[in-house]
Structure formats: C-alpha cells, structure tokens
C-alpha cells in the first residue's frame, strides 16, 4: 500500500523522486495515512457491485486528507499487497524489532535524542503498527474482541496459508491467537510443487529438441487448485479488511527500512539494503532479525503479484500456463501483455533461499487434488 502510494505521488507530481515521496509519507500525520487507507478501501469496494463501505461523512473526511489527490484508479485488484507480502515481511521480525525501537524511544534516551522526523515517524508507527488511538481506527481490524494486531495477522496467515510465523512472541513465548479450524494447510506443498514445475518450464523454454520437461497441463492444474484454495478463504471478499491492515502495517515497516530514513540514521543503522538495516537495528534493540531476512525482503513484492495472479485465476487453461513463466523475450507471438516470468523466477530463487528447499529438484510429486480445508491441530 505504501509503495504504491509513493508510485502515485511520483507519477502525479508533488514529489520529484521516490526518496522525496518517502520522506513526505514517513513524516506525515498518521491521520492522513489512515484517511488514505479508508479511501483505498472505498475505491476498491470489496463488496462491488454493491455499494461501497464508506458513508458520506467518511468520504467527506478523507477528501480533506493530505493524500486525497493520490487515490488509485478503480481496478479489479485491490490497490494494496497480497497477504503473501505481509507474511514474508513479518517473518523478518521487522514489526517486533520496530516495537522495541518505539518502546526504547518512548521510555528513555538510550538511543539518543530523536530528530523531529523520527518523532513524527514514532507517532505514525504507534498508530499504524501498534494500535495507538486515532480519530479513525484505520481498519486495523482490532477491537476489544481482538485487541492484538499481530494476533489478527497471525490468524489471517494461518487461514490463508496454513502457516505460522517463524518465531513466537516478542519475549520468545509461544504465540497466542485464534487458530481457525478452516485453514489452507495444504498450501505450501501445492505452492512448492507449482514453483518446481515452473522452474522446469523455464529451463526448457527455448528447448526445441530432446526431452522437454515442461508440463503446461500440470502447471495449469496446480495453479487452478491453488486458486480454489485461496478463494475458499475469500468468499464475499472475506479477510480483505485484514489484508489491507496487514499491508499497511508491513508496508510501513518496509518503507522505514527501504532507505536510510531518519529513524534508521538516528539509531545508527545506515546500510545499503533493508535486510542489513533491520539486522543492525535488531542488534541495537537486542532482538535478532530472521537470518533469511534479505530473501524475504527480496521476494515480498513479487510474491504479492504472483499470488494475486494465481488467486485471480488468470491461468484458466493449459494454453495459458505460460503467463507464469514466459518473459517478454521468450513469449509467443502476440503475447504483449505484462507476463509473470520474471516475477516467478524471483519467487523461486528467494523462496528456495529462505526455506532451504531445493525447488529445482523434484521431491515426491504430490496430487493436485488434495483436501483444501484442514482441521487445526
């Protein structure tokens, strides 16, 4: 959500560069950011073709916000990232590390005196990530019924992917959250099988003679099965609100680490990559980042696009399997639309690096038709 906002700010004109746009957003009033989230929620309209979620009062309110001019054009896709993006970024432990940064700055001066921009960042971070009071609750999906934003996200990750985060709570206790009974526990196996088949197809994309391991029909079937699985959790656009809240929170964390932002500089964690910045901050606050954080950062945006395309069911026949592995240079004649070959390639590389699984070698093939819904343990 944040990165897409920067893109629109640069395109519309007030910020000449992405760095300038990022500086504006990071130092903005959190209410402006929250109003923009409301605007995105309404522009996308999760219940279309029914009326949108916002009433006239709320619409009038966001029209006064700083980012009102940067609303996205209506689209079939939400103007925020998929849960996959939030999941891999949250696995870096960025949110828990930033929580310690906030606590440290708010409770003492061990990190030195924060600059004004850092103080603005602290205000916004407490609102967007940790549920500080704000005139509008920013669709954080939290209430007295489910007060912990991290627990809400964990619940959503479990339901969508059958996955938990790689770590427990901030103090290393087992996480506590509502583990839904309906969860896509077979997601990872199918997903990795699809990545394997896509790698085979990419390896053979220019192969004109000899055995060709590419199997478009299998790619189509697995993609279709994954789409069924993901859509099972999305009926009537369920979980869209939680997805927006997660994309906003993790988008804020990613934006904070995308460059040497004021808080990064104030802490003394200036570096050349998000993974290194997070590692240095983690060392400062005594909470280690995930050792594969660099891979998580590298794949987050591509995984988001990849899963959106799968969930949208774009691969609707064997003849369209190539959408997932052709690049502009290898695409068949007439395929001029943006394809996902480079996106898939990045996901394969970084997923293999992050999980340690060799996706380029076949394990035991699995059946595409598995049980979609599993009972929680």
């Amino acid at each position: 959500m944040m990165q897409q906002l920067l893109e629109r700010m640069v395109a519309v004109g007030p910020a000449p560069t992405v760095q300038a746009a990022a500086a504006i957003v990071l130092a903005s009033d959190p209410l402006d950011v929250v109003l923009h989230m409301e605007q995105l929620w309404h522009v996308y309209n999760p219940w279309a073709p029914n009326p949108g979620p916002a009433g006239p009062a709320r619409q009038a309110l966001w029209a006064t916000g700083a980012f009102n001019a940067f609303a996205p054009v209506p689209s079939a896709y939400p103007p925020w990232d998929h849960f996959g993006y939030s999941y891999v970024l949250e696995n870096t432990r960025a949110v828990q590390i930033l929580r310690r940064v906030v606590r440290e700055y708010r409770s003492g001066e061990a990190f030195g005196i924060p600059s004004i921009d850092t103080q603005r960042w602290l205000d916004a971070t407490e609102v967007l990530l940790f549920g500080a009071a704000n005139p509008i609750g920013c669709w954080l999906s939290t209430s007295t019924a489910r007060p912990d934003p991290e627990a809400v996200r964990r619940n959503a990750y479990w339901r969508m992917f059958g996955l938990d985060l790689a770590f427990g709570s901030d103090d290393n206790r087992p996480p506590t959250y509502d583990k839904a009974k309906a969860a896509n526990s077979g997601f990872v196996k199918l997903f990795e099988e699809l990545l394997f088949e896509l790698w085979q197809a990419m390896s053979n994309v220019r192969n004109q003679i000899g055995p060709n391991q590419a199997d478009d029909d299998r790619i189509f079937r697995i993609a279709q099965q994954l789409a069924f699985m993901l859509r099972a959790r999305r009926q009537t656009n369920l979980l869209a609100r939680e997805e927006l809240a997660a994309a906003a929170a993790l988008g804020w964390a990613e934006l904070t680490l995308s460059a040497d932002t004021p808080v990064v500089v104030d802490i003394g964690a200036a570096a050349t990559s998000p993974g290194d910045r997070l590692r240095l901050i983690g060392e400062r606050v005594g909470l280690n980042a995930h050792s594969k954080a660099a891979s998580f950062f590298a794949m987050s945006a591509d995984l988001s696009r990849f899963l959106r395309s799968i969930e949208a069911g774009l691969v609707s026949s064997t003849g369209l399997a190539g959408i997932l592995y052709y690049t502009p240079s290898t695409a068949p004649t007439g395929w001029t639309a943006p394809l996902l070959g480079e996106v898939s390639r990045r996901v394969i590389t970084e997923w293999a690096a992050a999980t340690g699984r060799d996706l380029k070698a076949r394990g035991k093939p699995i059946e595409a038709m598995g049980r979609q819904v599993a009972r929680a343990q």
Partner: protein, 156 residues
C-alpha cells in the same frame, strides 16, 4: 589278305600277340599317370568349387547380416516413433491471450506498480530547522524564525 599284305587289323592282332611284358608295363604306367593327372585335376576342381561355395556362402551370410541390421534399424525407428508419439501432444500450444485477459494482466501490473529502491540512499530531512527551548524566543520568532517581527518579515 588279297595281295598278301597283312591288314592293319591283322597286323594289330599279330602285333599284340608279339607284345612284350616291358611294353605292357609302359602303357600301364602311362595310363596310371594319366589317371593320376586326371585325379589331380579333379581334386583341384573340387577344391576350387569348395572355395567358390565357401565364398558364396560367405557372401550370402554377409547379405543376410546386412538385412538383419536394416531390419533392426527399421524396427528401432518404428519403436522410437511409437514411443515418442505421445510427446507430440506435449509441445507447447500457447493459446491466444485475448483482449479480456490482456486487460486483466495490464490491470494487475498497474495495481501493483511500485518504485525502484535499488538506489535507496538517505532521505531528505523534512523538519531540519533547530528547535528552541521553551520560552527561549518570542512568539514571532517561533513562527517565522529568529529575527522575525509580528508581520512575519525579518527585522533588518
């Protein structure tokens, strides 16, 4: 004997009566020699025939081998053709994207568009002016900066 001279037949008959054992031995030897020669010639012909037959058999065998090899090759090709026949269906048959799917792909691309952070660097400072302590400056100076008067212009 009309003129008293012996005829050839009578001469021969009288001659054979007069043949000596030595002359008989010579003719037997000559006959034997002739027979041996004939046997040798026959043996030579038999050897040559056997050699020709052997050569012929060899040629026949060679021809037979060649036929077998050809058969093997032909059979192998037929087998291979039959085995790879299903692969003909695995050739990639990309379906045309169509206007609708093209629009969906473009829409997806636009919705997820994000900036390139490969040259992250340091962000510009938004609020870089030094902050004064409480009560250290006048209200005008707090609003317009040090040296400003009530209407916002800087005092010379």
């Amino acid at each position: 004997m009309p003129n008293g001279k012996p005829t050839a037949a009578t001469a021969s008959a009288s001659g054979s009566k007069k043949r000596t054992p030595a002359s008989n031995n010579a003719s037997v030897a000559a006959l034997k020699k002739e027979l041996a020669q004939q046997k040798a010639e026959h043996r030579q012909e038999s050897v040559e025939s056997a050699r020709r037959i052997e050569k012929l058999e060899h040629l026949v065998l060679q021809l037979s081998d060649l036929k077998g090899f050809e058969n093997s090759v032909a059979h192998g090709i037929e087998l291979l053709t039959a085995q790879i026949a299903p692969l003909a269906d695995l050739t990639r048959k990309a379906a045309p994207l169509g206007k609708r799917l093209e629009a969906q792909l473009i829409d997806l691309n636009d919705a997820m568009e994000r900036p390139d952070w490969s040259a992250g660097g340091r962000l510009p400072v938004m609020s870089g002016a030094p902050v004064d302590f409480i009560g250290a400056v006048t209200a005008e100076e707090r609003i317009y900066g040090r040296g400003a008067n009530m209407i916002g212009s800087v005092t010379p």
